[in-house]
Subunit: 154 residues, 2 copies
């Protein structure tokens, strides 16, 4: 299978939001159907304007269908000898395309891209209600050394 | 006690690196003593040039001693309705100033600052070997809903 990795453009917004919503935990969090909410457009513009964000769209090279998405953020920091980190968030593979190793190919690509951009550490947090995702990350070499804390500011 | 919160300048680098190293886990990760390593200077310049990073230095308002540090990163994203997140990393309070509620005052300040900057979620990861830190975060209202995964790219 051939996959195409490219930076998202505004015309991808609908497909990306549908992928984010197409998920047990995501379905209650996203606003889909009808026009694209203005909050998504504003967030997209901010991501697009920031050279440290890479919002990726993954296409099937044959059908050109959008089959996955993820967002990388490069974070400069002083700790660990001035290490630059790559953080991956909002990873999704289209439901009806699971089981084809698309997720693994996406992660291998993201790891290589982060290494090429001089990141010495890659990090992510994963909801504790996603045991399948945890096995997947552990197979890729990630270690759950940290607790991931969240605080709503709403 | 009065604390001063301000953006770090290059002259603070030595004090910040000493704080990062002044820690059970940090001591083996940082290069201290002698001249400041070029990697720290390069990382500092990158943080300083990025409007989404806020590297904070906390001073005792009376003695003007640096007693704490943390780094905030604002991360735009599409998920959760285009929510902007505030991530806090590299939090340290000077060892001989612990037990004075400096850490709690720092977090209250960081939470307010993040809310003022339209973040709807604050997040952090904390090493599983820091049980005292976990109790502290939970007192502040943070919930350990996620696993924090790391992968070295060295």
């Amino acid at each position: 299978m051939s996959l195409i990795f490219r930076r998202a453009v505004e015309a991808d917004l609908k497909a990306i939001i549908e992928l984010l919503a197409d998920d047990v935990l995501g379905s209650s969090r996203e606003a889909i159907g009808g026009a694209i909410d203005a909050r998504y457009r504003a967030a997209f513009k901010e991501i697009e304007a920031d050279p440290k964000q890479f919002l990726c769209v993954v296409e099937d090279g044959h059908t050109r269908e959008v089959v996955g998405t993820f967002q990388l953020t490069f974070i400069p920091g002083l700790s660990r000898g001035g290490a630059k980190r790559s953080q991956i968030e909002a990873v999704r593979v289209k439901t009806d395309r699971r089981g084809e190793n698309i997720g693994e190919t996406m992660f291998r690509w993201a790891i290589d891209y982060s290494r090429e951009h001089e990141c010495v550490l890659m990090q992510l947090t994963s909801d504790k209600r996603r045991p399948d995702a945890h096995r997947f990350y552990e197979r890729l070499g990630f270690e759950a050394t940290h607790e991931g804390y969240k605080l709503g500011l709403g």
